[in-house]
Amino acid sequence: MPAKSKSKSRHKSLKEKPATHYTAKRARDQMAVEFELDSQIQQHVGKWIALADNQIVAVGETVEDVVNAAKQLGYDAPLVVHGPLTRENVAYVL
């Protein structure tokens, strides 16, 4: 009986561990991508930027410009963000 319960717990740990590791690793990888994207976004001062597939797909003067440009590349629902207002690295107190 003790052997059986030991095997059950081993089975459980085998089942759970990879999932946890996968989630944590995925979160770390995604955060690395976010930092890389952020550093690219900081180059486009005052512009609107469309992001898709973890990359910048369009940069333009208006939201409409970048959404249309992204659509032409096949990205129907890009994430649209605004670049920084200034080249200076500023903190926000809003």
Binding site: A27, W48, V80, V81, A91, Y92, L94
Partner: protein, 136 residues
């Protein structure tokens, strides 16, 4: 839902992804800002959405940079799995879109974890009426 902070200018901030619903929906990001009285988004976003402004919703908004006039309307939005009816004001040249207390914080109990860099949004099924909607 617990969401990780996202980097802006190299610093992690409580940004969430918002899908604004109109005839031309738009996915963007906004800062969860417990210090903001209202949600305020860049005017260019409203121009894209094509949603008409509500003439009764106009506020003078003061920040560190000075005072501006912001115009408001109600917009449906999706955050996480939840569809919200948000009061939003719009002004030009904002450094960041903001999700403020009235009425974004009516939908969620919001807590910030500055050590783990996470924002926790707990959805409320029962909500008070927006302060602004009482005036309109």
């Amino acid at each position: 839902m617990r969401l990780p902070y996202l980097p802006v200018g190299g610093a992690l901030k409580p940004l969430v992804q918002v899908t604004l619903i109109s005839q031309r929906p738009l996915i963007t990001r906004a800062l969860v800002d417990s210090g903001a009285d209202f949600s305020i988004f860049d005017l260019s976003i409203l121009a894209y959405l094509g949603t008409p402004l509500d003439p009764g919703l106009q506020r003078r908004v003061t920040g560190i940079g000075g005072t501006i006039t912001a115009h408001g309307t109600w917009i449906d939005a999706i955050i996480g799995r939840h569809r919200l009816h948000l009061l939003m004001f719009f002004a030009p040249n904002l450094p960041m879109n903001l999700l403020g207390r009235d009425n974004f914080f009516h939908y969620f109990r919001v807590s910030f974890d500055e050590v783990r860099h996470e924002v926790d949004l707990r959805y409320r099924r029962q909500r008070p009426t927006s302060t602004s909607s009482r005036h309109t």
